[in-house]
């Protein structure tokens, strides 16, 4: 079984394409507190590399996990990020 994160907030950007997943993730995580975990649900395949690259070069953001799931025949990319202060 995969790790369950204690998610503080979920951001649903399904149906939105580049650059929205990254931009909205940034805006949402800025409003969270250090230690909080943000779950991002996207359908944009590019969000995998986009969010990974963004998290890598952004201070105070830690990428915990990225997963691919299916939701009603639609591929959903789940991202888990921690506000690292």
């Amino acid at each position: 079984m995969s790790t369950q994160y204690d998610v503080t907030e979920t951001l649903d950007v399904k149906g939105l394409s580049c650059p929205m997943p990254v931009v909205k993730t940034k805006q949402t995580i800025d409003d969270l507190q250090p230690g909080d975990v943000l779950e991002v649900l996207a359908t944009d395949r590019g969000s995998l590399s986009d969010i990974e690259g963004w998290a890598e070069s952004t201070d105070g953001v830690e990428l915990l996990d990225q997963r691919e799931t299916e939701d009603g025949g639609e591929r959903v990319y789940e991202h888990y990020l921690r506000h690292a202060g």
């Binding site: 650059p19 940034k26 070069s57 952004t58």
Partner: protein
Amino acid sequence: MSTETPAGTAEGDVAALQAELEELREEVATLKDDADDGAKKMTIIATKGSLDMAYPPLILASTAAAFDWDVTVFHTFWGLDILHEEQSKNLKLSAVGNPSMGVPNLVAAVPGMDTVATKMMARRIEDNGTASIEELIDLALDQGAELQACQMTADLMDYEDDEFYEGVTTGVGAAAALADMGDADIQLLV
């Protein structure tokens, strides 16, 4: 002893070296601070005002702002239409001279073809969940990107300051753009 050095001088040397070492340490610390301080800086010059060419500068600007980079987009010539509230809603896609569209120039030049091509593109943009130009402008400004309107072009096109989106920086010239590019890490011309 033959190697004897006058005590006073040796102590003086050590003190001088220590002082120099301290100075160097401080200098290194300052340089380190300067090197880390800093968000990257990107300047984009947007010169094109067709629907397809309006996207790259705005997408890059809003994404760079999400990286906390310092972003400036200088809009000049047709690129100024992107910032013009009314014009930005009527940006067109041209099928003429655009090999990617797969329409022969002779056909592409038929009156009304640009409208057809623009409508097709607009439909695809909507279906794909791609943001509109207006949304991207709001997003970029919201995140602190500076969108500048070239004054010379504004005068040339007869655009007034209040015709641009709120938050757009007006009254900017080539010298300001160059000064900005001078200390940017990344400079792009679109």
